[in-house]
Symmetry: C3
């Protein structure tokens, strides 16, 4: 048996599809450097250091003496222990739990206990990332900058956060999918009739509408023209009396999926889903929902979170299954049609952003039946 | 430490034996294409789609409007979600849970919701495998065929299933071993005295018998000549009065281990263990036990399943440990003797079948002590 | 999407840091051959075979008819089943559970059931390692020897085990760290003020002491001169009345961390931490604590094990986190200072031992503040 009984590597117990030729072994993953992503909610970061992850890289967040947030790679330069297991010293430095080395918000090594010589040295510094606190979120820039200088680029802002007559609700969820798949899912119209049956749309009312797609610079937008009021529960809540529907779906670089609905003149909802690529196949979504409505907001507000969660759980389940299938088959093999309205544009923009390329403008109109 | 402290790749936490030179990194794995394997029992496949696996490839089984079973790769061509999470539509097509694409039993895309243009397109088809329902089993062919035409080759049939005076019992079990190791185990005589002590054989009665081995075409058979009645529990059940024993062990391509005993003129048992390679290191066994016996069958039948299960649990435990050991040591290193009567022939036939080669006939006689 | 949507390998779900350039992919792992390591306590090895692991290699330990321990690779040469699932036969051979092959303590195949020809053959032998039982430990040599001859080299001995006026306590623990990291941790002074705050040292008393380091042959020693009595709980237990402190830390090849304290003339403690590299990233520590003290030993002894365990749990947690961080970042990136007194010498000696090189003598004095 020793000679003959050997034709396959004993690679491990994880199965990969052996019946069919393997896929190309690729997945729609981008790693966007020099971009702002939400690391956590402001309220999550208090006195203790907080561990988080961005593109599979562990980060430690902490606040210095003035309450200013900072972000370092979560690895002590000395013996590679996570700094997030440490504590913030009285001088506002972050102290490693192993030997007590201390780092300031710029990552500089400020103190090495027991050492009689100078503690500060470049090799002992931790890597720091620019941090910005805004709108109740702690944003982290996905690359160190020269000398820690803040980048010119600013994070996304939320148009109706704190605006008169608007109520805003924030919801944080996670999906086991690539950021691309999660973005496409958030902006995809046809799946709502199936996956979220009864919540948004019924199977089909046979009405042909038009998606007017416009891509330019850092974004792509689809305007849906001719759309009737959604017949499901959300529609009834938004506009009990019916009315003209204005519906935009937008992707904005680096990671914002924006859905905007106006029904009649009084109802307006804007959902900004800001995505953080936690790892290549895990995406966190900070959903900021601002609405103005005919109904009293105290009536609507209790429904927003449960409804958003229900929808998201259905999406998250599908995205997880998609990810597992892609891994089992050794890569993605997607077939698209013209009604995958925004997917190819989102991907084009993401890839261009990853590689520093510019993307030309494009306009197209696509009919679809709802 | 940065310069000097580095001489091993930090490959992961899974241990591989570091004290001894690694094995050749191979295992007795074959991937047999264009063969019939049992995918499930007929009774397991009802109204809902059923997920199963063949050679680590997820398959979805479903029945169309006429109840005819079909098998597709369990991956929607659109966004690679498992079709088995979907449902069978009223028209007998399988519907993806994500966007509602529908596929017929041949894998053809029949409908894309919201699409105004033609849904059917080759790139949107799912891969289908030929399926055949026979003897209460759903058989799947391990390769697509041109235009989905049924292959000429037919699945294995069970000689005494439904035969007069015979009772048949079916048992399904799984072992964490390669299909080769599971087949060799099912047809190996010497291990029964140890692993199944008391059930079949005692340690040794010092009787020398002869194994007459004949290999030809798609099979190999060992006839054991001079074998006394098994002394253990199974022997006592089979033939309380003793008698001449006729014993054949056979391997039949692609995956059948057949054990046949005649004790006296009245007792006859045929066990067909039909194996399905679920993954490279996981094998499902459909054991079809047909027997005719001196004792009333209602007396024997209650013992067959528990005994078979007991034996199989002992085998499954050993096969799992064997698999783990092979992985830890980086591959198989088997030493054989002449009383590993069928192993090398099984392997020869499997490898030839995998590569489309013919295997010459062979006859040999081997003495062994029982 | 099929063409454009593909730029990253779908390697698996395990994250590796994607935000920063990966480390060099190395870790401080050595695999020391031809060395003695403790395989188990004598009392753990009784009538049944015992599975253990050395450098990720499964071993089976068993005692022959005379009670003499033996060690074989835990893999039957026949079908690669773990021999540790078998049993010791009446003749003191180890019997495989699958087909009953029997092996003596030197690994020789002595019997193959059912075989009519000669059982003994070199290809059927199991690999044996030299074994020595001493001081209540079963030691295994980390390489086979020619013809199984015992090596000249002898295992480490414990200076005060059984000595007059001394009490000895043995404690076995495990850490999820490389042997190097676990050794450095056991002999590192600065971390005790942080990680074990309150147990050994307080944060700092501002006293500058001197570490006199001497490296020669198979060891390196640091003598700490000018050290005041430890202020923490251990200090109060050791020497309630104060006194001059003599403190040595030693690393002795292949895997012994030795800490020696004398406080005053009456108190003396020697801790030998003998390490076994279970896998590259898992280290077992056999801690042999011998002490002579002013206080009655029955008063001290109950504190030794709980204190040692408390200290070790803190160390084990840090080592595990260090290991995880190293894997996440793709390798070690350690920055050291001069007060990492013994680390670089331990590494130098380990690497030289692995490669069979000699290491020159070295003497150095290092100031540090405690």
């Amino acid at each position: 048996m020793t000679t003959a009984g050997a034709n396959r590597p004993a690679e491990g117990l994880l199965p990969t599809a052996g019946l069919v030729p393997q896929g190309k072994g690729h997945a729609s993953v981008v790693r966007l450097r020099e971009q702002w992503f939400i690391a956590c909610l402001s309220q999550e970061l208090r006195g203790a250091p907080l561990r988080t992850e961005l593109m599979a890289t562990p980060l430690v967040l902490f606040r210095d003496r003035d309450g200013k947030p900072a972000a370092l790679l979560d690895r002590c330069p000395h013996r590679n222990v996570p700094l997030s297991l440490g504590s913030v010293a009285d001088d506002g430095t972050l102290r490693c739990p192993y030997h007590g080395w201390r780092f300031d918000g710029a990552g500089r090594c400020r103190f090495v206990p027991s050492l009689t010589s100078q503690a500060e040295a470049k090799a002992r510094d931790a890597t720091a990332l620019p941090v910005l606190e805004q709108d109740g979120f702690v944003w982290v820039y996905s690359a160190p900058t020269d000398g820690g200088a803040p980048p010119d680029k600013r994070p996304h802002t939320f148009a109706y956060l704190g605006a008169k007559d608007y109520t805003t609700v924030v919801q944080v969820v996670q999906a086991a999918g690539t950021m691309f798949s999660t973005l496409e899912n958030a902006l995809d119209v046809p799946h709502t009739a199936f996956l979220h049956r009864g919540l948004f749309r019924s199977e089909s009312r046979g009405i042909t509408i038009t998606a007017k797609v416009e891509r330019s610079g850092d974004r792509v937008q689809a305007e849906y023209v001719g759309e009737p009021r959604p017949p499901g529960l959300i529609g009834r809540i938004l506009s009990p009396s019916g009315g003209i529907v204005t519906h935009f779906d937008r992707f904005i670089l680096p990671s914002i999926a924006q859905v905007e609905y106006r029904i009649g003149s009084e109802n307006h909802i804007l959902v900004d889903s800001v995505m953080t690529p936690v790892t290549d196949f895990l995406t966190r979504v900070y959903a900021v929902v601002s609405f103005r409505a005919r109904l009293p907001h105290f009536v609507i507000k209790p429904f927003v979170k449960p409804l958003a969660l229900r929808v998201f759980q259905q999406d998250a389940r599908i995205l997880e299954q998609q990810t597992q299938t892609i891994h089992t088959f050794g890569g993605e093999q997607f077939a698209s049609t013209e009604i995958d309205v925004l997917g190819r544009h989102i991907w084009r923009l993401l890839r261009a952003a990853e590689q520093g390329d510019a993307v030309g403008d494009e306009r197209v109109e696509i009919p679809l039946v709802v």
